[in-house]
Amino acid sequence: MGTPGEGLGRCSHALIRGVPESLASGEGAGAGLPALDLAKAQREHGVLGGKLRQRLGLQLLELPPEESLPLGPLLGDTAVIQGDTALITRPWSPARRPEVDGVRKALQDLGLRIVEMADENATLDGTDVLFTGREFFVGLSKWTNHRGAEIVADTFRDFAVSTVPVSSPCHLRSFCGMGGPRTVVAGSSDAAQKAVRAMAVLTDHPYASLTLPDDAAADCLFLRPGLPGVLPFLLHRGGGDLPNSQEALQKLSDVTLVPVSCSELEKAGAGLSSLCLVLSTRPHS
């Protein structure tokens, strides 16, 4: 368990999955996805991996892309990891459920305790889960239902798990994230603000909150690779993607800002929280 909040962002490894060509074609992901520039998407993805590895010093594991899984790069939806436990999700979209297999295997190999969602009625997208270091919030969205949230609670019993209704057609993490152990960052949309208010009611812990002009800017990752004497990092969308939010992000203290871009991948519904999974193989050390 450790000191509350200190567990947040602790990581030694990052897991990503390559961008398949099928993502650009929109096949298999179902309708609705706009065409995107595959090369650009892949470039963004490569840069992201590079930053994780070089800037943050994480061990990077990259799963190979699978053409049958166009949304495979969004592996943040496939698992919820806290400490040494990984809950393998049951994504709402049946088409995406096979995505979990590769992820499960990788996490297992890393020594995490794997928890499955056996319940046929449960759906959970990993990006509907926000871990604050002290507790979980699970967004009840289009993709995640109560039963899915309940399994999160069942899996991470040390923590309070609260449900937050998400009104907009997006995941909880697509408009909020943690800017620090005690800081919630959120976008300025109604849905985001509403969710933040709900969280404020539900929590026993005081959090500061930082509102950013863009919802997507709040989808950031607070990472503490554990390098000695190094400030924690905040991996966030850079000025090229979201120029309006950069100034507000500067208000976050005690973190090193690491901007990345994923504007092309965003067209497929990706955000930073969905493009990588971070974990620590020695969470309690």
Binding site: M1, P4, G83, D84, T85, R113, E135, V138, H146, A149, E150, A153, D154, T155, F156, R157, D158, F159, A160, V161, S162, T163, R197, V201, L202, T203, D204, P206, H284
Partner: protein, 1049 residues
């Protein structure tokens, strides 16, 4: 020692003697205590028997002196209907209490008891006088030795002669006892010494007494059994168990009994066990009732140990869910605490399946436990326990008491009551949360449980949310748990149970124990060597303690010892010793004399709290640590404000010439202070801030505050006094008293600063009583106001309004808003008052040809210390009575018009400028205030004849004039009686290290007859001097205004 019920003079004598005795006794006390232990056992049994004695019995828990024991013994035998005897008993008990310093816990309990006992008394009471006497006595017993003088109230009545005699006898006894070393001997002696009729009764009674065997399952799984008198209250058993366990920080714990497999009920310490159990067997379990949010703040390792045991149970049973890793980690700390460092050989011999680390324990878990255990090398058992708790406290379900329920749509949910509020779970998910500050009211009706919630940010209205519990009992149980948790975690001191009134229905239940704030204070006073105790499965002694103490220590091992009697005796010894130390410590802090005052203050707090029902202070943090004071002060303000409001609402505003104000200020030699006062009047905000600052200032303050808290007793005296006194006093008196009361408030703050310099009880107490009755009357007649009736329900209904008298550690925005509101109110109120000071409240009839005269008294005090205590007590008295009266009124109202209750309650909130807070209910108040203001402005100025008499003493000005001092505190208090309005400004300044208190009182007397100014003046001066012997009266101004225009109104 005897408390005197008799006349004041008698009292004096006795008190002197007493004082002497007391001093002698102190050194001996330790020895006595041990002696007492044995006797205590008997006492306890005895005490439970008679209803009247019940209250006392609780008192004894701390193995007080023999006296209590005697008294109890006697009392139990006395049939309740025998008035005299009864009173006698009471007296005795009181004496006992007086002698030793009651532990805080004791005091509180007493208060409780008193409350409960009241109904009984009433039933039995044949004459008011007698009743009054009884009450008084009860009150008295609560008091500390030094209080005796105060106890001797003028009102005292019949039966006293008898008592007196008895008392003296008692004295003798006591002395003898003191000398005697063996408890057993003592007991016999006592019996012999008793020449009273009561004795016979006692003996008879003894034979009749039936005892019941109780079994209590302790946290380590062992069973403790003892015999209890059949009518014993829960407290008796609880105290016994705690003694057996050698546990001092017991407020976190409680006894429970199973009503059914799923239903666990807490044994109410204030009620008879028998009645709670109904027909259930006398089987109990000892459990943690309030989980300390931060166990590291517990003072003693032994307390943490018991908490660990409880948590291990909770974990093993699944009540406290944990992840695998946490199970392993906690398990490893358990092993470290129980077995010490990991030792491969030794561990081979241990079967880990003996330990239950989780509801379902796997080999994998055991291995993980062992693996982690190895990493804890070097941790002492106490350290391991601490680590265990540090990890356990973070679990989301730590300290959450779950209750099954259905929401309004019939969906199964769980309601979790915890330190921070009410949590709503669906399955394992938290779906909603109501922090205590959000909850305005908690109630239940039949099997429904309701919470009334403050409107959310953008909402306009409060909402009431209902839950369906499985049955009525479950609803009531949940309600009680909520009340208790709210009180324990959020309040500074427990709320008074609503007075039992003839027609009042609904639950009177209130949490009666110490609050967390109080218990923390109390534990800081624990001053005993860390007790030795053995951990459950540990074969070897725990290393925590030094061997030196072993002799004492061994008592704790009582588990194994055979006879409960012996065991408890031992345990008692230990405990009592500790307590004694405790007491001594306190004494050091403040002189004995002071104690009574403190108690009185405490009483006041409570009373305020009652009024405070209406008050809702919102803030989001549950920080009980430091700022109690600030909160208190705020509450005080609110209380006084509410008084004002009440007056406004009821009284027809009379126009007051503005000149009055000017004049008032002008004549003051001490203009500076006067101005300050005025300023304060209008800008209460600043005042509040100052108070808060003051509050934060010193640790000592805290300690003192704690002391005050402990002594709910004060209520007793006040209440008793009020009841007893029937005579009407001059209005002036009333005024004076109130003034003092106000002074008292300020004094607190000052006192704190000064640290224990305080002293002699002075004349304060006596005066107070006199005055109080009047005050009560006044308030009664006037108070249409709401104060706090918290319960206006039918039988099955309980209602509880959390008033958040919270200690606010952190001031948040919300809070500030609230404070502002509060502050605003006072300012409005005060302004009104100023303008309309002359207004005869409540008695419109008199208005015709009313003459108003105002007496201003400015008292200056150079070294505050001595006066302070007296003032405090006075203050309390007055306030208390007011409060109680209010309560009564409310209740009456409730019966008549239930709907009004809510409305009345909210006035204070109404004042708040915050829109969201305001409801329909508030309308009443706001109307009132508006009305007042309007009228003030619009009403044509009445012509008046004015006459001013000024008395000025030569000395003063020099001191006051210098503005160079720092203003410590300033407070303005206004109180009204039917025909009198008193405004007091208290200003404290520090100059060159000397703190100076200036009290400015303005008394406005309104009447239709001419008032003799000279007399009024003389009286005002006299009283001022009496009440503040150490202060000098610097200026008195009598100002008379006669209304020429009678037509108005």
């Amino acid at each position: 020692m005897t408390t005197e019920v008799g006349s004041a003079s008698e009292v004096k004598k006795e008190s002197d003697q007493l004082g002497a005795d007391a001093t002698k006794e102190k050194p001996k006390e330790a020895a006595e205590n041990q002696q007492n232990q044995s006797s205590d056992l008997e006492e306890e049994k005895d005490s439970q028997s008679s209803p009247s004695a019940k209250s006392q019995s609780s008192t004894q828990r701390q193995k007080r002196q023999k006296d209590p024991s005697e008294s109890r013994g006697i009392s139990r035998f006395i049939p309740p209907w025998l008035k005299k005897q009864k009173s006698y008993n009471l007296v005795v008990a009181k004496d006992g209490g007086d002698k030793r310093e009651p532990t805080q816990a004791v005091v509180e309990e007493q208060v409780l008891d008193k409350e409960e006992s009241l109904p009984e008394e009433e039933r039995q009471a044949k004459g008011d006088a007698e009743e009054a006497a009884q009450r008084k006595q009860q009150v008295i017993k609560v008091d500390i030795e030094e209080e005796k003088p105060s106890v001797s109230s003028p009102e005292t009545q019949p039966a006293e002669e008898v008592r007196k005699e008895e008392r003296e006898e008692e004295k003798v006894k006591e002395i003898q006892e003191d000398k005697s070393e063996e408890a057993a001997k003592r007991e016999t002696k006592e019996v012999q010494t008793n020449e009273l009729n009561a004795e016979k009764a006692v003996q008879k009674a003894t034979k009749k007494t039936k005892s019941v065997q109780c079994k209590v399952t302790l946290l380590d799984g062992t069973e403790y059994s003892c015999d209890l008198e059949k009518r014993a209250k829960g407290q008796v058993l609880f105290d016994k168990v705690c003694e057996h366990l050698n546990l001092l920080e017991k407020d976190y714990f409680g006894l429970s009994f199973q009503e059914s497999p799923e239903q666990k009920n807490w044994l109410d310490p204030a009620k008879q066990i028998k009645r709670q159990l109904r027909n259930l067997p006398w089987l109990f379990t000892f459990n943690v009732k309030f989980y300390p949010p931060d166990p590291s703040q517990l003072t003693e390792d032994i307390t943490r140990y018991f908490l660990c045991l409880q948590l291990r149970q909770d974990i093993a049973s699944g009540r406290l869910p944990c992840s695998f890793v946490t199970h392993a980690l906690l398990g490893s700390y358990t092993l470290q605490a129980e077995l010490g460092d990991y030792d491969p050989e030794e561990h081979a011999s241990h079967d880990l399946s003996d330990f239950q680390f989780a509801p379902s324990q796997t080999k994998e878990l055991e291995e993980k436990v062992v693996e982690l255990h190895k990493t804890h090398r070097g941790l002492s058992p106490a350290q391991a326990d601490s680590q265990f708790l540090e990890n356990a406290k973070r679990l989301s379900m730590y300290g959450v008491d779950l209750h099954h329920a259905k929401d309004s749509e019939g969906v199964d949910i769980k309601l979790g009551v915890c330190a921070n509020g009410l949590l709503i779970y669906k399955d394992r998910l938290r779906i909603n949360r109501f922090a205590w500050p959000k909850i305005l009211k908690i109630s239940y009706k039949r099997s429904n449980f309701y919470i009334k919630v403050r409107p959310a940010e953008l909402e306009q209205f409060e909402s009431t949310i209902g839950f369906k519990l499985p049955n009525h009992r479950a609803a009531k149980r949940l309600w009680k748990v909520c009340v208790e948790h709210h009180t324990f975690y959020r309040l500074v001191s427990p709320e008074q149970p609503p007075k039992a009134k003839f027609l009042t229905l609904g639950s009177k239940f209130r949490y009666s124990g110490r609050t967390q704030a109080q218990t923390r204070q109390a534990s800081t006073l624990i001053d005993r060597p860390a007790p030795h105790f053995e951990r459950t499965s540990s074969k070897r002694a725990s290393r925590i303690l030094d061997g030196a103490l072993v002799g004492v220590v061994d008592q704790s091992l009582t588990k194994d010892s055979p006879g409960p009697g012996e065991v408890s005796a031992y345990g008692r010894g230990v405990v009592s010793t500790a307590i004694v130390q405790d007491g001594d410590g306190r004494r050091d802090l403040r002189s004995p004399t002071k104690a009574p005052h403190v108690h009185l203050i405490e009483g006041k707090k409570n009373s305020l709290r009652v009024e405070g029902d209406n008050i809702y202070v919102r803030h989001s943090n549950l920080m009980l640590e430091d700022l109690d004071k600030a909160q208190e002060d705020i509450l005080k303000h609110q209380a006084s404000i509410s008084e004002l409001k009440r007056n406004f609402m009821e009284s027809t505003p009379e126009p007051r010439p503005n000149e009055w104000e000017k004049r008032r200020i002008t004549p003051l030699s001490l203009q500076i202070q006067g101005r300050k006062g005025d300023h304060l009047f209008k800008d209460i905000l600043s005042m509040t801030e100052k108070h808060q600052m003051a509050a934060t200032r010193t640790v000592e303050e805290k300690a003192q505050a704690a002391d005050k808290k402990r002594a709910p007793e004060s209520e007793g005296p006040c209440a008793g006094a009020s009841d007893a006194v029937k005579s009407s006093h001059e209005t002036l008196n009333v005024v004076e008293e109130k003034k003092q009361a106000e002074v008292g408030k300020d004094e607190r703050v000052i006192t704190e600063e000064m640290n224990g310099k305080e002293l002699s009880p002075g004349s304060g107490p006596g005066d107070i009583r006199k005055v109080e009755p009047l005050t009560q009357k006044d308030s009664t007649s006037l108070s249409s106001e709401s104060s706090s009736s918290s319960e206006s329900e039918e039988e099955d209904v309980g209602e509880y309004r959390p008033h958040h008298r919270v200690t606010e550690g952190t001031i948040k925005e919300e809070q500030e808003e609230d404070e502002e509101e509060v502050e605003e109110e006072p300012s409005q109120a005060s302004q009104v008052v100023e303008r309309e000071a002359a207004v005869p409240e409540a008695s419109p009839d008199r208005h015709a040809g009313a003459s108003v005269s105002a007496v201003e008294t400015v008292t200056q005090e150079h070294v505050v210390a001595l006066n302070i205590p007296a003032e405090k007590s006075v203050h309390e008295g007055a306030f208390k009575q007011d409060v109680s009266e209010d309560t009564e009124d409310e209740q009456h109202k409730v019966n008549g018009e239930v709907s009004h209750v809510d409305i009345d309650v909210l006035p204070q909130i109404i004042c708040c400028s915050e829109p969201p807070v305001v409801k329909t209910e508030m309308v009443t108040i706001s109307d009132a205030s508006q009305r007042t203001e309007i009228s003030t402005k619009e009403v044509p100025i009445v012509q008046t004849e004015t006459k001013t008499i000024t008395y000025e003493s030569p000395q003063i000005d020099g001191g006051a004039a210098g503005d160079s001092g720092t203003l410590l505190t300033a407070q303005t208090i206004t109180s009204d009686s039917v025909s009198t309005t008193t405004t007091t400004h208290i200003t404290k300044t520090i100059k060159g290290g000397i703190s100076e208190t200036r009290i400015e009182k303005r008394i406005v007397i309104t009447g239709d007859t001419d008032i003799d100014h000279d007399q009024a003046l003389a009286q005002a001066i006299r009283e001022a001097r009496e009440q503040h012997p150490d202060m000098s009266v610097t200026r008195v101004v009598v100002h008379k205004e006669t209304e020429l225009d009678e037509g108005e109104e």
